[in-house]
């Protein structure tokens, strides 16, 4: 994990989020499709099956209704209409039954299919019954018979009773006329006529009621009895008509005959028809069937259908439960996957955050330490990502800084030593210059003394030269004078020797000064090398700092992109509504993390800039030191030059002093000779004159030499004064240098290098 690039990590995170989203979507889609299947099953199969069952039941009830109506109605047309409707309902019920069977087949409902088979059995039986009932109701025989009785027969009965009444009235009148006429035969005949007529009426009524009874009866035995009754009544009617014909007048006969023919024709036919219809007895049978078998069949069907509805309803309940459980399972799966995804995303985000912020805070604390000068810590993180590179670069920066500071410290140490050395040298130089000045002034005073002596000597010798001719008398005085001269010459000789010694010492010290000045020059060269190497190290430091800046820029770029990514994730999560709330939390965490990364990178960049500025300042200080060293170097060169000229002058002085010494020695010899001559004054005055002349000449020469020595000594004195001022400037420069070296050392001591 820690060896992945940050971009890969973020990519991994984004991939995880995408995968979770896809899994949620897939799970949701799968569950929705299973849910859909359940719903379709419920709607297409169970619900539509239930609907079909209800329709079937309705059709059956409708068909029963029409069947009842057709059985009850007496009108043929209505009956036909109702029968048609009943048949239509039965046909539709059959269609529904087929459709239902298909649905049950489709839904693989075994129980329902068995119930449907059961229903089919009952239904077929019921249908057969229905068919019979409908056929019978179409025939409608009992009604027809009733109508025959009530309409046709009743009309005939009325006609017949009208006839009977007229006959009775006629018979009554005849009876009264015969009674008046006292004709017993006629009386008996009219009586019989009356009697037959009323019997005709009775018989017609009896026939009508018998036929009514016949129509109402359904039992075979009763029907047979009634049939024979009807036949008897008809026979008796025929007999009655025969009797009536016998007793009827000529006037009535035609009428009676007409009725007889009606009797034999129409009435007999009506009675036969009525009996036939009554025999058929279809209405009663159909009603009986309708009330018993059909009702039982319908009940059975209804019972089966009710059980079918119950089981379908139970199935619907089961489907509802299945749907509910499918819904709950889908919700559980989606919630579970989402929760797992959020947990994984959170763990991964936390790990990445730890992976970034841990090393970041380490690097930051190290930078803080570096800022206060502690360079001893190294992160040494074994990571291959940007953070790792950054910390490694930071370590490299620390290494470079430590090396640089080591070099600077060494340089400062060397510089301090050199300045101490230089200081000491300058002190020495000053002391020696002072000594030289003292000695030069001593020499000068000696030389002046010498000059004075020589001048006095010259004066004396001049006087001597002038008096030589008159010396003979004052030879004693001469002898004394010469002795004084000899003493003076001796002292001059001594002075010159000490002068020579002093000049030798001056020469020695000047050589030493020259050597020290050269050493100082070497030191400045060394210091320049150190500063140059410091400059190189600083360049390397700059390079490392640039690399770190690049890395922090990259991190900033990543942070910006991550920020955008997190923002878009937030937008998506918000668009997803309640389901996306978890993602929104993760996305805002990532955003926070990105901003933190950017801040850390910025802080690192500013720290690195501070380090870079500090090291630039250090190099500037070093440059200043180098300039000061250059000044020291120039001063040392000037010292070297002036010392060389001093040495030259000293050498000339030495040479001159040598010459002076020689002259003085020759003076001493001459004086000694003068002395010798003086002691022999009398003897050789000319010799003395010569001697004094040469003495005079030597003295003048000596005086000139002494003058030049004095001039040279003055030059020495000037040069040594210059040397002293140069030495003092060297001293002050070296003091400054020492101070700088000390500052540098203190500055470096602020850094903890190990």
């Amino acid at each position: 994990m820690k060896n992945l690039r940050m971009a890969q990590k973020l990519g991994l995170l984004v991939c995880l989020l995408l995968i979770i989203t896809v899994i949620v979507a897939v799970v949701g889609a799968m569950q929705l499709s299973s849910f859909n299947t359940q719903v379709r099953n419920l709607v297409n199969v169970t619900a539509s099956g239930l609907e079909k069952v209800f329709q079937l039941r309705a059709r059956i009830l409708q068909s029963i209704r029409w069947e009842k109506s057709s059985a009850l109605t007496s009108d043929d047309a209505d009956s036909l209409k109702f029968v048609e409707k009943a048949r239509e309902q039965i046909k539709e019920a059959n269609d529904l039954r087929t459709a239902l069977a298909q649905i049950l087949e489709q839904g693989k409902f075994e129980l329902e299919r068995r119930q449907l088979d059961d229903f089919n059995r009952h239904w077929d039986a019921f249908q057969a019954t229905m068919k019979k009932v409908l056929e019978l109701s179409l025939e409608n025989t009992n009604t027809k018979a009733t109508r025959l009785i009530e309409v046709d027969l009743t009309k005939h009965v009325k006609d017949f009773s009208g006839l009977a009444k007229s006959l009775e009235q006629a018979a009554e009148q005849e009876f009264k006329a015969a009674e008046l006429a006292k004709e017993p035969t006629k009386m008996a005949r009219s009586l019989r006529k009356f009697h037959e007529a009323s019997r005709l009426r009775d018989l017609m009524e009896t026939l009508r009621w018998t036929l009514y009874t016949h129509n109402a009866a359904s039992d075979d035995q009763v029907l047979n009895q009634l049939d024979s009754d009807v036949r008897q009544i008809q026979d008796r009617l025929a007999t009655t008509f025969e009797s009536l014909l016998e007793v009827a007048d000529e006037r009535d006969k035609g009428e009676v005959k007409r009725y007889q023919s009606i009797m034999n024709g129409d009435v007999v036919r009506i009675a036969d028809d009525t009996r036939r219809f009554s025999r058929r007895n279809s209405t009663s049978i159909s009603q009986a069937l309708s009330l018993k078998e059909a009702a039982e069949g319908a009940d059975a069907c209804d019972k089966v259908i009710t059980s079918l509805i119950e089981s379908m309803r139970a199935r619907m309940e089961d489907d509802k439960k299945a749907m509910e459980s499918a819904y709950q399972w889908a919700v559980f799966q989606i919630v579970f996957v989402t929760v797992v995804g959020i947990i994984f995303g959170g763990i991964l985000g936390y790990t990445i955050e730890r992976g970034i912020s841990g090393p970041m805070s380490l690097a930051l604390s190290n930078l803080h330490r570096m800022a206060v000068g502690d360079l001893s810590q190294r992160l040494k993180l074994d990571r291959n990502d940007e953070i790792g590179e950054m910390t490694q670069a930071l370590d490299k920066v620390s290494d470079h800084l430590v090396a640089l500071l080591h070099q600077v410290r060494d340089g400062a140490d060397g510089l301090g030593q050199a300045s101490t050395h230089l200081q000491k040298l300058a002190g020495d130089l000053m002391a020696q210059s002072e000594e030289t000045t003292v000695q030069a002034s001593t020499v000068a005073s000696g030389t002046e003394e010498l000059t004075a002596t020589i001048q006095s000597m010259a004066g004396a010798s001049e006087q001597l030269n002038m008096n030589v001719t008159t010396v003979s008398t004052a030879s004693e005085e001469i002898s004394v004078n010469v002795k004084g001269i000899s003493d003076a010459a001796e002292s001059a000789n001594q002075t010159v020797t000490s002068l020579a010694k002093s000049i030798e010492a001056i020469n020695q010290s000047l050589l030493m000064v020259a050597r020290e000045a050269r050493e100082g020059s070497d030191m400045t060269g060394k210091a320049r090398t150190i500063v140059d190497s410091a400059n190189t190290t600083l360049t390397a430091l700059d390079h490392s700092a640039d690399e770190i800046t690049k890395v922090t820029d990259t991190i900033k770029g990543f942070a910006l992109q991550t920020n955008l990514l997190a923002l878009n994730a937030t937008i998506e999560a918000t668009a997803a509504g309640e389901a996306g709330k978890g993602f929104a939390v993760v996305a805002s965490e990532i955003k926070e993390l990105a901003q933190q990364s950017a801040r850390s990178a910025g802080e690192i960049a500013s720290r690195i800039d501070e380090v870079r500025r500090g090291s630039r300042q250090a190099v500037a200080s070093m440059r200043e030191v180098m300039q000061t060293i250059g000044v020291v170097s120039t001063s040392a060169g000037r010292i070297s030059d002036s010392v060389a000229s001093q040495t030259e002058t000293a050498r000339a002085i030495a040479h001159d002093v040598d010459g002076a010494s020689k002259s003085v020695s020759s003076i001493a010899v001459a004086i000694r000779e003068v002395a010798r001559g003086a002691t022999d004054t009398a003897r050789n005055t000319s010799e003395a004159a010569t001697g004094t002349r040469s003495l005079s000449q030597g003295a003048a020469e000596a005086a000139k030499v002494a003058q030049s020595i004095a001039g040279n000594i003055h030059g020495v004195s000037e040069a040594s004064r210059l040397g002293a001022s140069n030495a003092s400037s060297v001293h002050s420069s070296s003091l400054q240098l020492g101070g700088l070296a000390e500052t540098l050392r203190k500055a470096i001591q602020q850094f903890r290098l190990n």
């Binding site: 910006l560 923002l567 937008i571 668009a575």
Partner: protein
């Protein structure tokens, strides 16, 4: 604006804070090269190809009569959903936070007197020390000067 709460995607333009209803926002996109459309209204910034799909990018500065500036290198695109109009977006200086605001916080003020932009303003509310102006993304395309001229000619 009777909704009790809504999410707002805020952004900055010329230092001011603006916001769109988050339901209108599809995504925020880093800068991409764009093509200038010849003879287009001045509010049209250009066309960009983002993931193989051409989007019309509008310059909201022009539409709000703000100081017009060339977009810097770190500008961003806000792309809208289909509900706001066909494949288009705007260019903004910087993206802000996703805020959840309460409908009750809205204060109705006529801060923009310019009739050209008044239809774009949905409402104004305070956010900390600043003023957050809510804009209507689905009114952006209709507010193009080209469309307005047409509407003017039609009516």
């Amino acid at each position: 604006m009777t909704a009790t709460s809504q999410h707002v995607c805020t952004f900055r333009l010329d230092g001011h804070l603006y916001g769109f209803d988050l339901a209108m926002v599809r995504e925020v996109h880093p800068p991409a090269p764009w093509v200038v459309v010849p003879k287009a209204p001045p509010e049209v910034h250009g066309l960009v190809n983002l993931r193989g799909r051409i989007h019309l990018i509008l310059d909201l500065r022009q539409m709000l009569n703000l100081k017009s500036l060339a977009p810097s290198a770190d500008h961003l695109f806000i792309l809208f959903r289909e509900v706001a109009g066909e494949s288009f977006g705007i260019v903004v200086d910087a993206i802000g936070e996703i805020l959840s605001i309460d409908g009750k916080d809205l204060e109705w003020k006529e801060t923009e007197r310019n009739p050209k932009s008044s239809k774009l303003i949905d409402g104004v509310l305070t956010h900390g020390e600043e003023i957050l102006t809510l804009l209507r993304a689905n009114a952006l395309l209709g507010a193009l000067s080209h469309n307005r001229v047409k509407q003017g000619a039609g009516s």
